[in-house]
């Protein structure tokens, strides 16, 4: 059914997926009721233990760290103070409403109202994710609403438990309120601590899994789930534990695990969270049909209206205060989207369901909650996209990762830290820099296997880009001699053709060999959207056979090129470099047969085609061929060399055992640039 939804673009343009799922749930529920059976209801246990964790883990693991940490202050203010405001405002006003005689609800006391307020006030991450994913709003607003929905769990848990206890006891003292505040800190910080501990454990474990690659994903899932369960057991905030675990674990685990495990983790998380989300919404629909209802027009309508009003007031008020401390202020449009995006969802429903049956208002509350959820998901969910377009809110920039931007991001970081140092105060960047250094010297040493921990981010990013482009090249399967050329190294470098000394060659070979191990693990792509796992698919499509075939093709064409170009080449006298790859590269620098696609091929420094020691030794053999002299005007000599080169190369290729996806790159940049 999800497939159908995505295949009908018009439908998905109008109705967010979550709405459709709820409607389906309603239909299914109705159907079951008609048949006469008892429809399955959303069991709260099932929800909290099985359905919710995958979604939260998915969200936490792929949380974009940079925008999150830059805005963490704002997010916390919205999450904590905003939710508190919502809860009390709604609870209070509803209580006032119930006091009015005509409503007929005078039996409802303040605590029950406050309890209801606390259940219904929390913005729901599932609903937010489902709706916001499709509107591609700009990063700032997205992270604000999303971060808030994740972090307000602590507040919700505390308030809910507090009010539940109080309403049983019946009276409240100042001491209780104070304890409540303490409880809040314990719950949230405790949850984060538990999550962080499990995160470090997972990272530490992953350091040793180089021999058992198959179970690596299992560790990730296991530790995260244990973090969730442990914190739920102690009545701490499970969601915050899960987020903390994912966030802490990710950089170290990704440096350690194999590329295939990383893909597995990514796919599994997306799959589970997708399934969970679908199930949640369907169950919501079914439960609506099934559950006992007590309808009271005034109460329900007031609840819905109050929800909206309190949200808007809260956002405006808080933004006013926050903007005094922010440098990049939140505009009115941003505020509107933040307020409008405060959707309620299944968590509220499950919490309501958890209310013990002794609560006399339970059914009424449930009905009201369901109405609020329906309203927010349907009305707000459906209208948010046209509103976003109408208000011309800034959308997410769909830009490819550019290496220039990456360089400048890092450059800017250091620059700003330096300027802060000159100014003399310990600002944002200073602490970030300190954390990075601490991370590098102590933490990474323990948690990352091998030599990888010394690698700076820029290099990792660059390798990732290289790999991606190489794979694209192999995918396209053809050599760019067919396409018109654009820019190559020749265009940006001064004329000198590089001359390679033996010592240099050795150096380079050593570096390439050591870098090959690093390269295999360096696949990363940032994706936190449910439906688009970009770039993940190409890696798996690269098969050995295709690679070899491409290599053969490349060789053949290169030798053709060589023969043609040999007469206007200035080849250095002692051409010792025997590897066909090297020769190829040098010729490339003098005729740009490569198109824009091939631009990256010129820069494959690290990956060497040989992964086994035997292959390496074979390569060493090749230089010993004595007759490697190519002079200008000796085309025949060249041809024979080429032929030799090809033969050798084919021999090499056949000897290779497990090439892996990054095998075809044989060009070396250092040769060209010296």
């Amino acid at each position: 059914m999800k497939l159908g939804f995505h295949l009908i673009p018009r439908l998905s343009g109008v109705v967010p997926e979550s709405c459709l799922l709820i409607v389906v749930g309603l239909l299914v529920g109705g159907l079951i009721k008609v048949i006469g059976e008892e429809p399955p209801v959303l069991d709260s246990q099932l929800f909290f233990l099985c359905l919710l964790p995958p979604i939260i883990l998915d969200a936490g693991y792929f949380l974009p760290i940079r925008p999150f940490t830059e805005n963490v202050g704002t997010i916390l203010v919205f999450a904590v103070i905003g939710t508190l405001w919502n809860a009390f405002f709604m609870g209070g006003l509803l209580y006032a409403l119930c006091q009015i005689e005509s409503v007929g609800l005078s039996g409802v006391d303040l605590l029950s109202c406050l309890l209801f307020g606390s259940i219904v006030s929390a913005v729901d991450p599932v609903a937010v994710l489902a709706v916001f994913e499709e509107i591609h709003i700009n990063e700032l607003v997205h992270i604000l609403v999303f971060g808030e929905s994740l972090l307000n769990d602590a507040v919700t848990v505390v308030l809910y438990n507090l009010f539940e206890e109080f309403s049983k006891v019946g009276t409240v003292t100042v001491l209780d309120v104070f304890l409540g505040v303490v409880c809040f800190f314990v719950v949230s910080l405790g949850g984060v601590l538990v999550g962080a501990i499990y995160g470090f454990l997972a990272a530490f474990t992953s350091r040793f899994t180089s021999h058992t690659r198959v179970i690596e994903p299992l560790f990730v899932f296991l530790y995260s789930y244990m973090a969730y369960l442990s914190s739920e057991m102690f009545h701490l905030s499970g969601i915050m534990a899960l987020i903390a675990c994912g966030v802490v674990m990710r950089p170290y685990v990704e440096a350690n695990i194999s590329h295939k495990s990383y893909t597995t983790i990514k796919y599994f998380l997306k799959m589970w969270s997708s399934v969970s989300e679908t199930l949640i919404f369907i169950f919501l629909g079914v439960s609506t049909v099934a559950g006992p209802h007590a309808w009271n027009w005034t109460f329900v309508i007031t609840t819905v209206i109050l929800c909206l009003v309190s949200r808007v007031l809260g956002v405006i008020g808080l933004t006013f205060i926050i903007n005094k401390f922010r440098i990049v202020k939140l505009t009115k449009k941003d505020q509107f989207i933040v307020a409008y995006g405060g959707l309620r969802g299944a968590i509220a429903f499950s919490l309501g369901y958890l209310l013990s049956n002794s609560h006399q208002m339970r059914n009424l509350f449930l009905t009201a909650i369901i109405t609020v959820i329906f309203f927010t998901v349907f009305v707000q969910g459906m209208t948010i996209r046209p509103l976003v377009e109408l208000l011309a809110v800034k959308r997410k920039k769909e830009s490819k990762p550019s290496i220039n931007e990456e360089i400048h991001t890092e450059f800017l970081d250091h620059l700003l830290t330096g300027v802060e140092g000159v100014c003399g105060h310990y600002g944002h960047y200073h602490w970030k820099e300190k954390l990075n250094r601490f991370n590098k010297t102590y933490v990474k040493r323990w948690l990352i296997a091998g030599e990888n921990f010394k690698e700076p981010e820029l290099i990792a990013f660059y390798r990732k880009m290289e790999l991606k482009q190489a794979i694209m090249l192999v995918e396209s399967g053809q050599l760019p001699s067919a396409l018109p050329s654009t820019i190559s190294m020749q265009n940006i470098q001064p004329r000198a053709i590089p001359r390679v000394s033996k010592k240099r060659e050795e150096e380079i070979r050593r570096i390439l060999r050591s870098n090959l191990q690093n390269n295999k693990q360096k696949m990363r792509s940032r994706s936190y959207s449910r439906h688009t796992l970009f770039d993940a698919d190409e890696e798996d499509n690269v098969s050995e056979v295709r690679l070899r075939k491409t290599k053969m093709e490349m060789d053949r064409r290169v030798s053709v090129m060589e023969r043609r170009m040999s007469h206007y080449l200035t080849v250095p006298a002692n051409r010792e470099s025997p590897r066909p790859g090297v020769r190829r590269v040098r010729f490339e620098s003098d005729n740009q047969v490569y198109s824009a696609d091939s631009v990256p091929t010129v820069h494959f420094v690290q990956p060497s085609p040989l992964s086994t020691p035997d292959a390496v030794s074979l390569e060493e053999e090749v230089p010993k061929r004595p007759s490697l002299k190519a002079d200008i005007g000796e085309p025949r000599g060249n041809a024979s060399d080429n032929h030799q080169g090809e033969l050798d190369y084919q021999r090499l290729a056949r000897c290779l055992s497990d090439p892996g996806p990054n095998k075809d790159k044989e060009e070396d940049d250092p040769f060209m640039s010296c």
Binding site: I403, L412, G424, I459, I492
Partner: protein
């Protein structure tokens, strides 16, 4: 500072505030910091900046210090560097890091972008010829990765080359084989960093409170 002196400096500060856009409190604080760094002299030299401990671990420390003494950043249209700067020049360099005010027009925002990007450009273009050549860009990346050891050196060249190719590719499109891409001009620089919202990223929070009394980078 004596009473008479402070009256005179108040007036100066007001002038400076108008010219550079800082508030009076911020100028006061920056002045205190300036005095602290320069050991109460009138001008600041490179050694004064070099002795800040907070800059020790910064990989692009030399470039940052140079930027303060670069004439192009001091609104003088000549190339070259000065040996010492006064407080006004200090403020001029710092003003590049002011955040964008709320509610500025599109044109002002564009100007702000250009100014900040010009500052970055000047940092890369060390020989002041108006273009960033391959060598200069390589040096930039090498400095960035200078703490990474041997591996960093080799990759730095590759990264710089890839970046240069990217610039050439985006700005020039197709090029004949014997054409030579001289270097990144400022216009090209603007173009490749188009999606980089520098006006919101390149800023430092200038506090309105007294920073000199906090324990900061300068050792006594």
């Amino acid at each position: 500072m004596g009473a008479s002196q402070s009256a005179g400096t108040e007036h100066e500060f007001q002038e400076l505030a108008d010219r550079t856009g800082f508030s009076l409190e911020q100028i006061g604080n920056l002045n205190k910091r300036f005095r602290q760094l320069s050991n109460n002299e009138e001008t600041l030299s490179r050694e004064d900046l070099a002795s800040i401990p907070a800059l020790d671990n910064n990989p692009i420390r030399a470039q940052i210090i140079n930027a303060f003494f670069d004439k192009r950043n001091l609104h003088q249209n000549e190339a070259g560097t000065v040996q010492e700067i006064g407080f006004e020049e200090f403020l001029m360099v710092m003003s590049h890091f002011r955040p964008a005010a709320m509610g500025i027009t599109e044109e002002e925002r564009e100007n702000l972008r250009r100014e900040k990007l010009q500052f970055l450009f000047n940092m890369h273009d060390t020989d002041s010829d108006g273009t960033i050549t391959l060598e200069e860009y390589r040096r930039v990346v090498e400095e960035l990765l200078s703490k990474a050891g041997m591996i960093g050196q080799e990759t730095a060249k590759a990264i710089a080359d890839a970046a240069m190719l990217e610039v050439a590719g985006t700005t020039r499109g197709k090029m004949e084989p014997d054409e030579f891409y001289e270097g990144i001009t400022f216009e090209h620089f603007l173009q490749i960093l188009k999606t980089f919202d520098i006006e919101t990223r390149m800023h430092v929070r200038f506090l309105n409170m007294d920073t000199a009394t906090l324990r900061c980078g300068k050792s006594k």
